[in-house]
């Protein structure tokens, strides 16, 4: 039993604590967990998070990290002094490592002239709201461990996800909806997928109620949500009334307060049967919304539709809103596939920021856009054919953050002229590691990442393990 459950059991609180102290003094230490009082010592800037996870690794070199210097080096082998033993996957380890500049046009946008590729015209229009981070890095080079690291702070499955940590720490603001909601989208055409696993949004060793609840596209967004055929809402209400009455009767005999908790969960399930479809019903949205979020936003389950859902959840106080969009793994046919990926996501991502802002929600909503690692400035396959691609690259990649206390209109960190290594950004110019991103996200939520621990298997675990530094340059 965690301390939270331990103290949460009815009015037994004070007595329990007394016994815990008594027993602790006799060597029967109760595990102690932090309470919110201990956690939220910092002034929170953000109340909630929308994470726009672009799974598969978007090619930063073609989108946000402009490297004109590569043009002159097209086809040259990457110097060993730059590569410095960086691993590649077995997909390209056997081929010559030839440099390949982006074929896409970059222009400067916004007040301070951030360079953005022609593939992201809508993102380009909102750069004044964004902090573009060109100095992200990670150690992982394969999708599954890298995505697991991005979402949980560790490469192996089993740790709680950043969303679970957040709702564990801050609770839910909406009594009719889960605090941590996940949505997955995929576009329809010709791009390459990487699977997403349940452990990416699991609660790990945290209490299971903090796990992400995955909403599915269409009329049945939560598994087992609707009543079975033949059971109307009226019949269900009557069943629940009887159930509550009979359970209360039994509680009188057994004295177990858990029975009350069970009754409450059945009632929440009943309320979710209304609140979830209400959330998922985009019928009441005006045409203007769909125009803003772009083509595809009327198709349930599309990235654009999920971005509208994300805004609706932010309005309803869902604490952690996690979107995944797959298909960014351009090992081949990059020119065609990357264009498709951007067509499906660019407008909606930008629209979400714009929409949150005009509704006054951006100030306390942290939006994070990015993938699990980056792509290499070295080409994969025949760089002279349109079939070329780029291999994975963990040593630098780009993300953007917006809202929730993030500095507006900045570009943070730079890579070298090859776009291969980080030269500045992060604490002491070491770059921004995933642990640093997590530390910064928690900081914006008012949580000190070093103090926010959970005792499991006798060890105090943190989202940031034993690493992580808050990147103050990203904060207002």
């Amino acid at each position: 039993m965690t301390r939270r459950q331990f103290l949460g059991r009815s009015a037994a609180g004070v007595g329990s604590a007394a016994l815990a102290m008594l027993m602790a003094s006799q060597g029967r230490a109760e595990p102690t967990e932090l309470t919110m009082k201990d956690v939220a010592k910092l002034a929170p800037r953000a109340k909630r998070v929308i994470m726009l996870t672009q799974a598969g690794a978007p090619s930063q070199i073609d989108l946000l990290d402009y490297k004109p210097g590569l043009d002159a080096r097209r086809g040259e082998l990457i110097p060993d002094s730059i590569r410095m033993g960086q691993r590649v996957t077995t997909m390209t380890s056997g081929q010559a490592q030839k440099l390949l500049p982006s074929q896409f046009r970059f222009e400067q946008h916004g007040e301070h002239g951030a360079w953005v590729s022609e593939l992201m015209p809508h993102t380009a229009k909102i750069v004044d709201e964004l902090a573009i981070v060109r100095s992200m890095y990670t150690e992982q080079i394969n999708h599954a461990p890298a995505m697991t690291f991005f979402q949980t702070g560790h490469q192996n499955p089993g740790r709680p996800s950043v969303g679970a940590w957040t709702v564990y720490g801050l609770g839910s603001e909406n009594k009719d909806l889960p605090g941590f909601v996940v949505m997955v989208s995929k576009d329809v055409e010709r791009t390459c997928d990487q699977p997403l696993y349940e452990h990416l949004w699991s609660a790990g060793f945290l209490p299971a109620e903090h796990q992400g609840v995955k909403l599915r596209a269409g009329h049945d967004p939560v598994l087992y949500l609707p009543n079975p055929e033949g059971v109307s809402r009226e019949v269900r209400r009557e069943q629940l009334d009887d159930l509550a009455q009979l359970n209360a009767l039994h509680q009188g005999t057994t004295g177990d307060p858990e029975i009350q908790a069970r009754i409450a969960q059945y009632e929440l399930a009943f309320r979710m049967q209304m609140s979830v479809p209400d959330l998922a019903s985009l019928k009441e949205e005006p045409d203007e919304t769909f125009e803003l979020y772009g083509p595809g936003s009327r198709r349930p389950g599309s990235y654009a539709a999920n971005c509208i859902m994300a805004r609706r959840m932010a309005e309803r106080g869902v604490r952690f809103i996690q979107l995944y969009h797959v298909g960014w793994d351009q090992h081949k046919s990059l020119p065609e596939q990357l264009r498709i990926q951007c067509q499906h996501t660019d407008q909606a991502s930008a629209a979400l920021v714009t929409d949150l802002k005009r509704r006054g929600l951006l100030d306390d909503t942290l939006v994070v856009w990015g993938g699990e690692f980056g792509r290499s400035p070295v080409g994969q396959g025949d760089i002279d054919s349109p079939g070329y691609g780029r291999d994975h690259h963990p040593r630098c990649f780009s993300m953007w953050l917006a809202g929730g206390g993030v500095r507006r209109g900045i570009v943070h960190g730079e890579t070298d002229e090859f776009g291969f290594n980080i030269v500045s950004g992060g604490v002491d110019n070491k770059g921004v590691h995933i642990h640093d991103l997590h530390a910064t996200m928690l900081h914006l939520l008012g949580i000190d990442h070093e103090k926010f621990t959970y005792l499991y298997q006798g060890r105090r675990f943190r989202l940031t393990d034993v690493e992580g530094q808050v990147v103050r340059d990203l904060i207002v």
Binding site: E209, P228, L268, M272
Partner: protein, 755 residues
């Protein structure tokens, strides 16, 4: 002082003033001091060499009593205080000076450390030094000695029906003398008891006849007879195998990106047979770890080693084969050390353990035992080498992934920071230095020697860990409540002497699992009522004194099996390939982007016990809430309470079909509503309902009859739930109305709960 005052005293926080605190036992280093040092100090002054500050080590005896080093120049010794701990003299002990100091530059832990000491902890450290600073090893690493059973007289003179377990439990209750806990709870009534016993030992509820026979049998042997009957039932092995499948991260697919199916179920059936035939636990361990290496190994013994091939297998394009292979070896070390030894060896994968006396070198010496499997790390297909031929009971030839070593052992190197392609110094197979050495082992022992070492009498962990997990299965929580961690940061046993007594008894019995379980359930401790007064609940909410029986929700698997049994749908066929019962559409498709399709089974496949349900590692069965995902070894019980569980139990076709089928059985059981409703209630709870309960159910039945009489389409859907044969058209309204009431019964808290 009146009893009625107690709750008020507690709510106002006056407990300490109203009640005399029990006499403090003398300070015990292992119980009182080491946990404080481990939590607050070991991070910088513990086993982890690289992180060690000031060359000070508090995790070993020599370090604690060492001469004090100069703070500015650790090469020199300080003049005063001359020792870190000077027994009997806190004034001459650097430790006392540091923890009691008011000076921020001197105080330990330093002011910026996340973990600070409480005043009580500082005092306790000072008291320990004053009282002579007696040192003792960590309890779980000390040899198991059989402690004396407390005398009955010391147990407060309470007469109890049970055995030695009760004397230990009573002695603890007597020692603490807590308000509201004057003794054990009374024995549970016979109906509750037979239901509890049957659920705990078989994972299924008792039948009406079994309950009736037990209630009627007034002979003193009635209970023991029921215990023997249940331990001999096939359902026993199925139930105990289920927990082992979680520990052994069993699944029917490889996991990761491709997640192809694998044929692992013959091993699952091996586990069921092992429990049912009461295989001694030491053999159970040896065969799973090294059955292939036994002299003239049988095909069953080779099959047993599939245990260490149950890990996920990565087939991601572009991943390095050697990196994958090393991941599997890490998994085997983790699973073996957690399940058999209760150790978190994984912590030493990248660096020396921060709390326990295990170095990174120890870790890779263990790693070496599992590093010579004849495998290549490839995994985009289903079953991968090494494979063994196995004939299933119907005579069909199957290939099963098992353990088989290469002729030449692989070289094992310590991996720097745990990174697979950063080999460090070379190591050979060896067991951790902090634990008793192997007896008469060859120069470079192999897996079989490791298995023998794990099951040797001298191993202090194996029997304690095994007994604790068995205890957890019938008492809901272990005597050690961190079953995965018996190390320094794990919880201490609530009843240390009892655990050791049971562990030594277990070994002496020839590791007899059923005998151990019988001893547990024959105890008075087990047979107590779970009814709990507000007072007892307030005093001991986590039930650490065991002065009542625990009351907790059944597992998702047991709840499902129970619903199938009560409704008459359960198919009690044992073993065979996994089956695919009801599962929401699109879940597999979602995780695999349409590549994997769930082909729901038909007929019997829908109604088998839950351990036979196909376990896809990337998408575990959606209605199995609070069950580990089987990505890695898991021995801990998860018990939460969420709205998603309520949705499953009310809306999953598994349960709506069970409700309709139970309704049909109720209708057939008698000719009048009240008798039928009482009958159904008793089927589900093993007890007849009070009249008030029947009245509530009857009122609902009548209203549903009226409702469904007007809504024939809805009635048809409700009555025809699931794939079982539809009731005749003229019975539809009646079955639908009953199904609605049965849905309530199947969701009653007492049906979902082990009381």
């Amino acid at each position: 002082m009146g009893v009625a005052l107690v709750p008020i005293a507690m709510m106002t926080g006056l407990l300490a003033r109203v009640h005399e605190p029990p006499a403090r036992p003398p300070v015990d280093f292992d119980r009182d001091i080491r946990p404080i040092l481990a939590d607050a100090c070991f991070k910088c002054h513990g086993p982890h060499e690289e992180k060690r500050e000031a060359r000070l080590r508090l995790d070993i005896r020599d370090g604690l009593f060492a001469p004090t080093r100069d703070a500015d120049d650790p090469d020199r010794f300080a003049e005063w205080p001359s020792r870190i701990v000077m027994p009997g003299k806190p004034g001459e002990s650097e430790m006392a000076r540091r923890v009691l100091s008011q000076d921020d530059d001197e105080r330990m832990p330093p002011p910026d450390a996340a973990r600070q000491l409480t005043d009580a902890e500082r005092t306790r450290i000072k008291e320990w030094i004053e009282s002579g600073a007696a040192w003792s090893g960590h309890w779980a690493f000390e040899p198991i000695k059989r402690p004396p059973v407390p005398e009955p007289a010391k147990a407060g003179g309470v007469s109890w029906p049970g055995n030695e377990i009760d004397r230990f439990v009573l002695a603890e209750i007597g020692r603490y003398k807590l308000p509201g806990v004057s003794g054990p709870s009374p024995q549970a009534d016979k109906r509750t008891l037979i239901r509890r016993l049957t659920l705990d030992l078989t994972g299924l509820p008792p039948t009406r006849d079994e309950v009736a026979a037990f209630v009627k049998d007034e002979s003193p042997e009635a209970y023991a007879r029921a215990v023997d009957r249940l331990l001999a039932s096939t359902a026993f092995g199925e139930h105990f195998a289920t927990a082992w499948l979680d520990a052994a991260r069993y699944a029917d697919s490889n996991g990761f990106q491709i997640d192809p199916d694998r044929t692992a179920w013959p091993w699952r059936d091996w586990v069921v047979r092992a429990f049912n035939s009461n295989m001694p636990y030491d053999r159970f361990v040896v065969e799973q770890l090294a059955g292939d290496l036994l002299p003239e190994a049988t095909s069953e013994q080779v099959l047993a080693t599939a245990f260490n091939r149950n890990h996920p297998i990565n087939g991601e394009g572009g991943s390095d084969k050697e990196e994958s292979r090393i991941t599997y070896v890490h998994d085997r070390v983790d699973t073996t050390s957690t399940t058999f030894l209760g150790l978190t060896m994984t912590c030493a994968q990248c660096h020396d353990h921060k709390y326990d006396p295990f170095s990174q070198r120890d870790y890779y010496q263990m790693f070496a035992f599992f590093n010579s499997v004849d495998e290549d790390g490839n995994g985009d297909k289903g079953d991968v080498e090494p494979l063994a031929d196995y004939k299933d009971p119907s005579g069909k030839d199957l290939k099963i992934m098992v353990m088989r070593d290469r002729k030449e052992r692989r070289e094992t190197h310590l991996l720097e920071r745990g990174v697979w392609d950063h080999p460090g110094e070379r190591v050979e197979t060896a067991t951790p230095g902090a634990l008793p050495a192997m007896d008469g082992a060859p120069q470079s022992p192999g897996r079989l020697e490791l298995a023998r070492w794990i099951t040797a009498r001298s191993n202090p962990l194996t029997a304690r860990v095994a007994v604790n997990r068995l205890w957890q299965q019938v008492f809901g929580e272990g005597l050690v409540r961190t079953p995965e961690n018996f190390g320094i940061q794990g919880e201490r046993p609530t009843h240390p002497e009892l655990l050791d007594w049971l562990a030594s008894r277990f070994v002496e019995s020839g590791w007899d699992v059923k005998a151990m379980l019988k001893m547990f359930v024959m105890s008075g401790t087990y047979r107590q009522s779970s009814v709990c007064s507000a007072e007892l609940l307030a005093t001991d909410p986590a039930n650490r004194l065991l002065a009542r029986s625990p009351r907790y929700r059944l597992t998702a698997g047991v709840i499902r099996d129970q619903a199938l049994m009560i409704s008459g749908l359960l198919v009690s066929k044992v073993g065979g390939p996994p089956v695919k019962p009801y599962h929401p559409a699109g879940v597999w498709e979602d995780v695999s982007f349409g590549r994997l399709k769930y082909q729901q089974g038909t007929g019997e496949d829908l109604y088998r016990r839950s351990l036979y349900t196909f376990w896809r590692r990337t998408a575990a069965p959606a209605n199995m809430f609070d069950t580990p995902l089987r990505q890695k070894c898991s021995v801990r019980v998860i018990r939460t309470n969420t709205p998603l569980q309520a949705m499953i139990l009310m809306n999953d076709p598994t349960y709506t079909e069970a409700a309709a089928a139970l309704g049909e059985r109720a209708i057939a059981s008698a000719s009048d509503d009240n008798t039928r409703l009482a009958w159904a209630f008793e089927e589900a709870t093993s007890r007849p309902p009070q009249d008030a309960v029947v009245a509530i159910l009857k009122r609902r039945l009548d209203s549903l009859r009226t409702y469904y009489g007007k809504h024939f389409d809805e009635a048809t859907s409700a009555a025809n739930a699931g794939a079982r044969p539809d009731p005749p058209a003229d019975k539809v309204t009646e079955v639908a109305a009953y199904a609605g009431v049965m849905g309530v019964i199947l969701n009653l808290d007492e049906v979902l709960t082990r009381e």
